[in-house]
């Protein structure tokens, strides 16, 4: 597990302690992450990784799993 993914899972776990984010999928589709969580999460990720996640990136594809989120973070960190 890379460093970004580890940190993403840590932030996610801070939001929902009872979910195993290493394996969980469909976080967005199953409403495990509601819109409050999504916005809080974006603020946390922006703060932690010094990136800017725009509204256009707030989609199920990017938020359905910790892995997808980590990939988004890495993509935005490269720009």
């Amino acid at each position: 597990m890379n460093e970004t993914l580890e940190k993403v899972i840590e932030i996610l776990t801070d939001l929902h302690e009872d979910v195993d984010f290493a394996t969980a999928e469909k976080l967005w589709d199953s409403h495990i992450l509601d819109s409050f969580d999504v916005v809080t999460l974006v603020a946390e990720l922006n703060n932690e990784f010094d990136i800017v996640i725009g509204a256009d990136k707030m989609t199920p594809e990017n938020f359905n799993s910790a892995q997808a989120l980590a990939a988004l973070v890495e993509e935005l960190s490269e720009i």
């Binding site: 819109s35 409050f36 916005v39 809080t40 974006v42 603020a43 946390e44 256009d56 707030m58």
Partner: protein
């Protein structure tokens, strides 16, 4: 024109008949013609609004698309000789130009909506404010006739413009086709607010006749008419009586009003949407679902995920998320983290955005204070409920009985009543009166009205109550069956003959038990006025 007008029903039958015999490629043209005719029926000048929206959006989205293509071309050409920072700076500059165009489009359309829908409200409040400070407050109040469905088609089209700006898909290059997307007639009365990538495929495909799909479509249309004409319109006179005289109809009458209006609104709005989706199904055009058994919701957040779904997702995607992550909000988040602590700083932006979005949601429903307060009260309930989530979780862990179906039912009833109380702002259309009437439910214990025949004096006869009770029971059973999937499919799978019998039965129910007669006004679908 309303779905319940005979002209509409005859026109729809003719349209469906012609649609399937003309060449596939020309079918979308027929839909455009029908949509323009439908809209022009409510006044030729109203077509100007639709054309303004279509033309401004067409021009802007095409220009944004061209600029995006040029940006990609330039970046590819300078892939090797530009540094990372140069590429970033160019990309930002190019996107800024596209953003300005988007803002222009939003300004034209929301500006038009603001003037027509909110002009009078704003000026009246300005006059009052000037009066408070001793002025005359005599600015002339502009009066516009609200064009049918203007909030719906502007929101739908601006969603499309924002998606093109975000490069979610390419802009439509055919003006007539875009105009059809803007004006597609079944959606004009009360939505749903569709997305271009979902609706356009069906709109332009010119689907052929498919017996099973058409049967399902017809059943859905009849089901919608049943909800609207048998339940909602029959309930309407009682709701009017209860609202018309708040001094007389207080206390438990207000509670009865909550129940009656909840049922009426549900039957009216979902009925209209059923007709819309059914028409789409007959023509082979999938239209987004707008409801998912909302009265089974266990809390208000869930309720808003299941009620008027397309409006909720519109606000979420195009307002809540952009506001929550915009630069000032990020700065606010950083500031609040530093000054107010990590915990408050973490949640402050989302709470501010929630209040802002619900303020706008209230305004969307109408240019009046009762809608604004209604929106803000929703925000308050959602935020309180959000803050209490850890408590609920502890409660459910501690008490096993709170995880039973019976408790689920209690939660659904609680949500229904809570939403009913909020809907009082919509009923009474007067903020102080609404609070007063809410209070009477706790101070005026006139529970005798449930037993002494008082409820028979609300313009409803015993047979009306019988029809309403049966209709409500049928809705409830259909909702329960719907949890296992499409009820129409379940019936057809059991027996094609039964499916045909259900269709005929629905038709007969609408004809026999629909609310008609002298003085009956199939007036408006409630959401048409928004």
């Amino acid at each position: 024109m309303l779905f319940t007008d005979s002209v509409f029903i005859i026109g729809l039958c003719v349209l469906a008949a012609v649609y399937f015999v003309i060449p596939k490629k020309t079918r979308w043209g027929l839909l455009l013609l029908a949509s323009c005719a439908f809209y022009a029926y409510s006044g030729w000048t109203n077509l100007l609004y639709i054309l303004t929206t279509a033309a401004s959006t067409f021009g802007v989205t095409l220009a944004m698309d061209r600029m995006a293509a040029k940006r990609k071309e330039t970046l590819t050409a300078h892939k090797a000789d530009w540094s990372k920072d140069e590429k970033k700076a160019y990309k930002e500059a190019a996107n800024k130009k596209r953003f300005r165009l988007l803002v222009l489009c939003l300004f034209i359309n929301f500006g038009m909506l603001a003037v027509i829908k909110y002009g009078a409200f704003t000026v009246k409040n300005l006059n009052s404010l000037i009066g408070v400070f001793g002025g005359e407050g005599s600015i002339p109040v502009p009066e516009f006739l609200l064009p049918m469905g203007i909030s719906f088609f502007i929101f739908q089209t601006m969603g499309y413009a924002i998606d093109v700006y975000r490069e979610k898909y390419a802009a439509e290059r055919n003006f007539a086709k875009l105009t059809l997307f803007v004006s597609f007639f079944p959606q004009l009365i009360q939505g749903p607010i569709s997305r271009f990538d979902e609706l356009s495929k069906g709109l332009f495909a010119g689907s052929g006749f498919e017996a099973r799909r058409v049967l399902f479509g017809v059943q859905r249309i009849l089901w919608g008419y049943m909800k609207k004409m048998v339940i909602a319109d029959r309930m309407l006179p009682a709701v009017k009586v209860l609202i018309s005289d708040p001094e007389q109809y207080r206390g438990m009458y207000a509670l009865v009003g909550i129940l009656f209006y909840g049922l009426q609104l549900y039957a009216d709005f979902t009925g209209g949407i059923d007709i819309t989706i059914g028409i789409g199904q007959v023509l082979g055009i999938p239209i987004a679902e707008n409801f998912n058994r909302p009265f089974f919701s266990k809390n208000i957040t869930e309720y808003w995920r299941r009620w008027h779904i397309t409006l909720g997702t519109w606000f979420k995607d195009y307002l809540f998320y952009p506001v929550s992550v915009c630069k000032p909000m990020i700065n606010f988040s950083k500031w609040s983290r530093q000054k107010l602590g990590k915990n408050i700083g973490k949640y402050a932006p989302v709470y501010v955005s929630t209040v802002a979005v619900w303020f706008v949601t209230g305004l969307w429903h109408g240019a009046a204070w009762n809608f604004i307060v209604w929106g803000l009260m929703n925000a308050v309930v959602i935020l309180v409920s959000e803050r209490c989530t850890p408590l609920y979780q502890k409660f459910h862990k501690k008490f096993a009985w709170s995880n039973t179906h019976a408790y689920d039912g209690f939660q659904a009833l609680r949500t229904f009543l809570l939403m009913g109380c909020l809907r009082m702002f919509d009923c009474y259309r007067d903020v102080p009166l609404t609070f007063k009437m809410f209070g009477t439910m706790f101070t005026d214990w006139n529970v005798g009205i449930f037993f002494d025949g008082s409820l028979m004096n609300l313009s409803l006869t015993a047979s009306d109550y019988a029809v309403l009770l049966t209709g409500t029971a049928v809705l409830f059973i259909a909702s329960l069956l719907g949890r296992k999937g499409s009820v129409r499919k379940q019936i057809l799978d059991r027996s094609p003959l039964l499916s045909c019998a259900v269709t005929v039965a629905l038709l007969l129910i609408v004809v026999i038990f629909g609310a008609y007669g002298i003085g009956y006004d199939a007036s408006q679908f409630i959401y048409n006025q928004f």
